[in-house]
Structure formats: structure tokens, C-alpha cells
Symmetry: C2
């Protein structure tokens, strides 16, 4: 998960009848109660209690295999072996580098994809050795998202120990490219091009902290590097020619004046600028890196359209006020990031089922909008939630990241995640 924003507000409640939600929720809680009361659940729970040490061992082992951005392969290969050892079928690595395995249901029904990302934000050479202080484990990436990966493995084993049948097939995926420049590439591939793309009808990402938190909205983002180019020239001798730095400054000044709503939260940023060779030359190229985000697809489109228009206006203005005899200014906004926006309605069965499970464990559900792998299915209309990995963690994306693997909370988290997956997949 990155750039998370936790909100307890629930926009959908404002537009649908509270009674209807309550009714849907009642429908969801029945199957959850049935699962939790089953003999299989008891059997799986007993297994989970005994599987704790393996969970801890795998958490450490996985974290200590570096997985920098775009360099997840070593960890992916190890994870692929673990999926196979856990008894999944059709274990493989796809073209994008995602690793996955299937737990088949009785028929050839729809499929639920359960994903946890392999990549971290940390560059090559980062010390990823786990430092233990009691149950407090500190290491870059240990919470986000090695704990999600380890949780998923524990869930697979528990499902098998409980011998649960499921209506849907379960596809467990350790995916690449969730963080930063990865731009959700692993899940984009999985859902847009992968072999199961037409079969995945529900999607669960394990990439949050507290299991009461249910991410059902995807903050979308658009990122550009805009290169402003012109003829360049001597600052004194060629004074009067168009200057790309002036065009860029004009664009930035216009951008800075944009009005965006605070709700749905919408943001924009100039993150970096560069260009020019010397103080006494009119630059031939300057560039800026731009990030825009919104909880709302409509607002993201609005800010994006306004941005592209103001770049054009700034370029036209510079070409209008200075000489173009040696050439004009042009600007090329190159898309360098595109995290699709999306939402799974509060009334969607996947949200209500997850809510029912969370409540059944005595947790308080809390809906959030964030930027996770679930953005991609949400944008495609595939019901999706991002759920927590449990336990207390902090300092994600910082070198002093840590997670607490205290036994009781850790085993409970496996039970919660297993129950969500079962309830979403359906137990006949």
C-alpha cells in the first residue's frame, strides 16, 4: 500500500438508503456465521494456532530477500516455491513476474484473486535484515508488504487444513510493481492480459494494517514529465527569443492557482524540475514532474484536463510574446504514471461480506480510500477490497519500519483473512 489515506467517512451512505445497506449486510452475515460455526473452521483454527512459528519464519525469510522496485525476481522465485509447498496447483510465474497458484473449487466457477505485492520501495543495497526485539520485528518492508505475503501463505495452509470447499476458485498471487513507479504494473497485467483475466470476478488485496480497515475506494493518480523545448541561444546575444523556462514557469504559476475540492480529496504537485546548461544560455529544454490524484474519477479527470490545457496555454503565450524566428516552444506531457481511480460501492457484496467478517471478530469496520492494487479492478468494475494483514505496524516506507508479531494478534489475523476469503468465494 502506498500513500494511504484513512477515512471513516462513507460517501455512499449519503446516497443510498441506510435500511437497504442494513438488509444487504444481514444477507452477508448469515454465510459468515455459518463458516465460523463449521467444523472446518474449528479444524483450521487449531491448525493456525500451531502454524505460528512457520508464519514467523517465513516472514523473516521473505523479508531478507531484497525486492527493490522492478527487481522482485529473487523474492518472487522464493515465493513461488512456497506457494507450491503450500499445495496450490498451476503454480507459475507470468510474463510480468507475478507468481501465483490456484486452489480449485469443486467446479470451474468464477475466480477470486487474492494478491499481496512482492515489491518494496527500498532501493538495491538497503539492509533488509530483520532486527528482533521480542516480538517487535524491524526491517525495511517488514510490514508493507512482507507481512501480507506471509499472511497469505498461512491462509492457504489453513484452508487446506480445514479442507474447505469453495464455490469460486481461489487464485493466490504474489504480484510485482505495486509501489511507486511500479505503477500497479503487476495487477494491471494480471487483470488486463493474464491468463485468468476473464475469470477473476472478485479481487482481494492484502495490503493494509488494521483488519477493521476496508479499502473500498482507489485514489487515482496521473503523473507526467512535461518537457518544454525551444531553440535555445545566448542569454544576451539571442535575448528576445522564446525561452522554455518562461513557458514552464508560466505553466507552474497557472497550475498553482487551480482550485480542487478537499472532498473528494484531490491534489496536485510539482515534484521536480530540471533543465538548462548554463546561466548565460537560454535553455533548449527544461522539464517538470507532475503528480495529480483524486479520490474521485471525475475530479481526477477535471484536474488532469485543466493541467493539460494550461500547459498548452503557457506554451502559446510564450510563443506569442517573444520571437519564434529561431523556432517555437513546444511541450510534450509524457505520461509516467497512471494509477486508475475507482470505487467498490458500499452495497457491493464483497464490501458487505468483508464487513460482516470483520464485525464477527469484534472489530469495527472503517472504510477508506487509498491507492493500492485494488485500484485496477475497481476501475474495471471488478468488485475489490484491500484488507489488512493484522498486527501493529508503523513507519511504512521508512528505513525504521517495524511490525509486531505478538502471537495472539498474529494468529487471529490469519483467521480473519481466511474467513473473508472464504465468505467472498462462497462455501457451498
Amino acid at each position: 500500500m502506498n500513500r494511504s489515506t484513512l477515512t471513516s467517512k462513507c460517501p455512499a451512505l449519503a446516497v443510498c438508503c441506510v435500511a437497504a445497506v442494513a438488509s444487504i449486510h444481514a444477507q452477508a452475515s448469515g454465510p459468515v456465521q455459518k463458516i465460523r460455526a463449521s467444523a472446518q473452521f474449528t479444524q483450521a483454527s487449531t491448525f493456525i494456532d500451531g502454524d505460528y512459528d512457520r508464519f514467523v519464519k517465513e516472514l523473516i525469510a521473505l523479508n531478507e530477500i531484497p525486492a527493490p522496485p522492478f527487481k522482485e525476481q529473487a523474492r518472487a522465485t522464493a515465493y513461488l516455491d512456497m506457494l507450491r509447498q503450500d499445495g496450490l496447483s498451476d503454480v507459475e510465474m507470468d510474463t510480468a513476474g507475478n507468481v501465483m497458484g490456484v486452489r480449485k473449487g469443486p467446479g470451474s466457477g468464477p475466480m477470486v484473486a487474492i494478491v499481496a505485492h512482492l515489491d518494496t520501495v527500498f532501493p538495491e543495497g538497503t539492509d533488509v535484515k530483520v532486527k528482533r526485539q521480542g516480538t517487535r520485528f524491524a526491517a525495511p518492508g517488514i510490514g508493507d508488504n512482507t507481512r501480507g505475503l506471509a499472511l497469505m501463505l498461512a491462509v492457504v495452509r489453513a484452508l487446506n487444513a480445514g479442507k474447505f470447499p469453495t464455490t469460486s476458485d481461489l487464485l493466490f498471487v504474489g504480484n510485482v510493481g505495486e509501489e511507486g513507479e511500479g505503477d500497479l504494473s503487476g495487477v494491471k497485467y494480471l487483470l488486463r492480459q493474464g491468463k485468468y483475466k476473464d475469470r477473476i470476478k472478485n479481487f482481494i488485496a492484502i495490503d493494509g494494517g488494521d483488519q477493521g480497515n476496508i479499502t473500498r475506494g482507489g485514489v487515482g493518480s496521473m503523473r507526467y514529465r512535461v518537457i518544454f523545448s525551444g531553440p535555445g541561444g545566448h542569454s544576451y546575444g539571442a535575448f528576445g527569443l522564446v525561452n522554455p523556462a518562461f513557458a514552464m514557469g508560466n505553466a507552474i504559476a497557472r497550475f498553482a492557482k487551480l482550485q480542487v475540492p478537499s472532498e473528494p480529496k484531490t491534489t496536485f504537485n510539482i515534484g521536480a524540475v530540471r533543465g538548462g546548461t548554463s546561466v548565460n544560455s537560454i535553455p533548449s529544454d527544461v522539464s517538470m514532474d507532475v503528480d495529480m490524484r483524486s479520490e474521485s474519477c471525475a475530479e481526477l479527470k477535471k484536474v488532469n484536463d485543466a493541467f493539460l490545457a494550461l500547459v498548452k496555454q503557457a506554451v502559446d503565450e510564450e510563443n506569442g510574446v517573444r520571437s519564434t524566428r529561431q523556432g517555437k516552444i513546444s511541450a510534450e506531457p509524457k505520461l509516467i504514471g497512471d494509477r486508475p481511480c475507482g470505487e467498490t460501492p458500499l452495497t457491493a457484496p464483497i464490501v458487505q461480506t468483508t464487513t460482516a467478517v470483520v464485525k464477527s471478530f469484534g472489530l469495527t469496520p472503517n472504510y477508506s480510500i487509498s491507492s493500492t492494487d485494488s485500484n485496477v479492478p475497481m476501475n474495471m468494475g471488478i468488485p475489490a477490497v484491500t484488507i489488512g494483514r493484522g498486527g501493529v505496524s508503523d513507519r511504512a516506507h521508512a528505513p525504521d519500519e517495524w511490525t509486531d508479531v505478538e502471537r495472539k494478534g498474529s494468529v487471529e489475523a490469519v483467521k480473519v483473512a481466511m474467513t473473508i476469503i472464504l465468505a467472498v468465494a462462497g462455501v457451498p
Copy 2:
């Protein structure tokens, strides 16, 4: 010489009586005629004709000692030896790295400084070997200003051969730091801190091409690196905080709208921008490199003041429209270049004397405003001109720079320069 601008216009003529100039000129031409008619001049001229081969030899030797910006020492040391061999007294290197020697007059009168810069614009590792095609010598720096250095040595020998007494003492200087970032540092030291600073009453820089061209105005420039700093933060999580890139963009947009006169020529430029670490972070620092120039001290001050004011306005505006709860935006304009502006009036004896000499050799005087070592004395009120080294040269500051050392023109150039120096210094 760098960034030269040659103009034949003569602003001073508009404000002073043409007849008065003519009268001053008549006063100047008498002594010139006397010098040229003297037995010493005949003797020196004969010497110059015979000294041509040494001039060529020294031109090549000096050019092949690299003198990159801030790394003039090897050439300076060699030049110091040559000044000593030419019979000057008090030969020494000063703290700035300038090398110099004195040719005393009969008393302890005022001093005329004659300077030629040692440095080139070319970086270390540039091939400075002279490629000869007949009398066409090609090499980086060969015209600007190795030819000036070689000319000066030939003048010193000719003065001695002619046994000319001079009213003023002559200080011959090979100076550092004329080009680019050197920022005229050698001459600034010489005139502001050097041991002769209070004695130099006239100043002649040898750093032009055609000897008809007399630089009597100094284009001033002010250069800044402005660093805009702020608290930084996450582009989404901390959205709403002040952003230094927005402040800088605002400043650039305001700067781009400044109105400056085309005459006296006044210019401004953003030459480079940089800063920020990632697209999804609000930068903590961004910077821009700014260059402003003018033929007029008053206009340079105007554009400089306007620039500093608009930087402040842009910073204040950013601090006003976004949150400063994590800290404010600040901007620090750091002066990275300061070439003082200045002018020697057309009516000044040094200009009229130079004009008379140039005319006496059948050349057409042409007054220009440029940026040379003479900027410094002009700004201090010390009468100064920059004169030509003679010969045909081209492609200064380019790797294919060349100069033609055709014999007739080369020896004539030494005579012109010698006569200017004598006339300015006075021959009793």
C-alpha cells in the same frame, strides 16, 4: 572578451556638443603625431618588423599551455618569465594569480595598466595544439586571448627598443579570471586590492579583434542562483503545504513579464532550473539560475531591483495561499556573478587619444559596449578602453577558433597598440 556586442552608435554624441568633441580630438591628435614622427618611433618600428618571428613563436608557445577557467597557473608562470625576459622590473605574481611587471617612467608618476587575460573558456583536457595552415593558426583560445598576450610582449620589447620615456609608469599584466565564472576576478583584485590599486589612473585591456574597434562601455551583468526552500512533504498526504516549485514558477512567470528597453540593450534570462527528488514529494528545495545584463548601469539596477522584488512577492504569495504549518517558503538569491557596468565618456582623453591613434593608422574608429576587463575600472571611474589585438580572427569560444598571423597586419598591430599605450601614458 566575452559576449561582445559591437555597436557603432554613440550615445554620448547626443548629449555633448559635436564641436567640443572635435576640439578634444584635435588636442589628442597633436601628441600622437609627435610620437609617430619621432626617431624613437622609427627605431621601434624597425625592431617590430624584425621581431615578427618571435611574436609567432610566443603565440604558439603560450597557446599550447592550457589555461582553463580557474586554472591559469601554468600559463601565468610561463608568462611571468616572458615579462621578465622582456626587461620589465618588479615582475611578480599577485595573490589572485595575475602576473605583472613595471616599465618605469622618469618619475614616480601615475600608472597606466595594460592587461591581457590569461584564461580561456575551454575546460581541462581540451586539445590546445595549434594547427597551422599557412598563416591561419587554429586552436581553442588562439585569438581570445593568446594573441592579446603575445601582442603585449611584442609591445614591451618595442618600447624598450625605441627607448621611449613615458610620463606615466606602465604596468603590464597577464590577468586571470576574465571569462565566464571568472567574473573579472583578476582585474577586480588588481584594482580593488592589489598593491598598485591607488596608482592606476588609466586602464587599457587588449582583448578585442579589429583595432578600429574601441570598447568604451561595459555591459554590466548580475547573476544569481535563487534557492527556494520549504518544508517539503508527501504530495498527497501533505497536500496543501507551501511548495517551493510553485513559488519559483510564480517568480519565473512574473520575471517573464518584465519590460526592458532594447536601447540601452537590457536582457534577462532563466538559464537553468533544478530541484526536487521525486514526482510524489513536495520538494524541499528548487533553484533557478538567473542572468541580467545591460549596457546601462541605471537599467541594470532597475531590472535587478525588479527581479529581487518579484522573488519576494512570489514567496509571500505562496506563503499566503497555502499552509505554512510545517514551515514557510523562503528564497535566497545568491549572487554568482557581478560584472560591473560602466562607461568611459566619449570625451575622455583616453578615448580621444585612442581614436587619434587609430585614425593615424588609417583605421575607422568604431565605439562599442561589451563585457571585458574594462568593466571594472569603468565602474570605478577609472578611464578605460578595451582595444584590439589586430589581425583577422573568428570563432572565439568555439573549438575551431582561429586567427590569421599574416606578417604585415601582425606587425602593424604591434605598432598601433604601442602607439596607443604611449599616447595614453604620455611622452614628455
